[in-house]
Amino acid sequence: MNRQSLGRWLFAGTLIFALMSMLVPLPGILEPFKPYWPALVLLYWTLEAEDRVSLGLAFSVGLGADLINGIVLGEQALRLCALVFIALRFRSRLRFFPMWQQSLAVLALLLNDRFLLLVVRMLAGASLPPPTWWAAPFVGAALWPFMFLLLDDLRARLRVQ
């Protein structure tokens, strides 16, 4: 019972931490390379604990993210829903990929997410972003193995699901 609640805390903690990391400012040059943390963390839990992650959760995490740093309410909810839906659908295959292939899959998902964001922003009337804007998914995919191993290790140490 205790392990279970610890696991729940870890799950919620990582999500909240991801939302907070989105707010932390970086020096101007690094700014466009900031990965989309909530997407990475949600992807991890989608692959590792399918029963915890649902479209509803992705939607509410997205709403939370919009609340604290969004531009339009529902934008990140839309993006995270689409991301989690695709990840859930290909979960069985993604799980058994070797790490480098998994990173490539994550890259594809994040690029898709950026594209979705671009469409939403263009519909809202924003202008075309600079080319560096497309760098963030690559940084996210490069960080994926480290984040995956770190969270796996953390779960193994705490002996939680």
């Binding site: 479209l55 609340l67 909810a77 839309l78």
Partner: protein, 324 residues
């Protein structure tokens, strides 16, 4: 059991219910976005959830504060001494200037009173700290640690020692969000100091630049011209530095000149900014005129008053210099 598992989570194909749920959620998100775009719900929601949102902002701002503290703690002694020395010199210089400005401001005030204009040079300002929070990559915003409870209202101009930074866009109870003048959606009415030409400076997407896209072809604009706020539109008081022209070229259409200007304020470096409050409209009868008496050096209480007057009005003095 194994069969049920297979049906609920097939290896290659999804089920229709999952797709349906996705469509419902996507539609919900779209509806939210459209409604928010129309009604500005997000900020009302943020205001309502301020008890949760504000601590998150402060918490996320902590790393930035920590880095600053660490850099101070680990700065070596010599650099600190040098910095101290330089700051002392700056302070002396500033004080000297301030005293001169105070005298000029006093004189200006007297002359204006003589002219019976009701404008006062006194600036009503409030010092605010910048909270280091990143509000998304697209927008040019800044977070301040003062909010509705400190009397901040949307539309208030924000300045620093060198010029205009922007205006307050949204207000939460203890935090407010400033729209910078470099925001592509921002426009500020300006006047070119040298020629007196009035125009509008828009923000641009290339970092800390302003663009002036609709100057007449015959306009007298040169590189190095200073831009001041013109006071038209009533949002920014007149006479504050905005920027300096960096390049002028005819537009692609050949019908206008397009100029780009750098920003006078230290937008990405200042940690403290000033919020300007509306200058209170003088109401009621004017204050009674001080009766003319014998020369002031004969009056017993005159000397301390005149000695303390520069110190009493630092805000007036430091901004008196930029008033036209």
């Amino acid at each position: 059991m194994a069969r049920a598992r297979d049906e609920s989570s097939p290896l290659f194909a999804g089920n229709a219910a999952g797709t349906l749920r996705l469509i419902v959620y996507l539609a919900l998100a779209m509806a939210l976005m459209v409604l928010d775009q129309r009604n500005g719900w997000l900020w009302r929601l943020r205001y309502t959830a301020a008890a949760v949102v504000e601590p998150i902002y402060r918490l996320a701002g902590l790393p930035a504060v920590g880095i600053r503290t660490v850099s101070v703690a680990f700065a070596d002694r010599q650099r600190l001494t040098e910095q101290n020395q330089r700051l002392r010199e700056d302070l002396l210089l500033a004080n000297a200037k301030l005293n001169r400005m105070a005298a000029v401001a006093e004189q200006n005030l007297r002359l204006k009173q003589l002219l019976d204009t009701q404008h006062s040079l006194k600036l009503n300002v409030q010092l605010a700290r910048v909270v280091g929070v990143d509000l998304g990559a697209y927008r040019y915003r800044m977070t301040l640690n003062l909010g509705a409870r400190d009397g901040v209202k949307p539309g208030q101009p924000v300045i620093d020692a060198h010029g205009v930074i922007g205006q307050v866009k949204e207000v939460l109870p203890n935090t407010s969000i400033v729209m910078l003048i470099t925001d592509p959606e921002h426009a500020i009415p300006v006047v070119i100091e040298r020629s007196g030409l009035r125009t509008v400076a828009y923000g641009s997407r290339e970092g800390d630049r302003l663009s002036l896209p609709d100057l007449p072809l015959a306009a007298d604009v040169r590189v190095g011209d200073k831009l001041l706020t013109s006071g038209l539109g009533g949002r920014f008081p007149p006479g504050f530095p905005v920027g300096e022209i960096r390049d002028v070229a005819p537009a692609d259409t050949g019908m206008f000149l397009v100029a780009h200007a750098s920003v006078a304020a230290d937008i990405d470096r200042s940690a403290d900014v000033l919020l300007l409050h509306d200058q209170a409209e003088p109401d009621g009868p004017p204050p009674p005129v001080v009766p003319m008496g014998p020369p002031s050096n004969l009056a017993p209480g005159a000397a301390p008053v005149s000695a303390s007057s520069p110190a009493k009005r630092p805000a007036t003095a430091s901004h008196g210099g930029v008033q036209p």
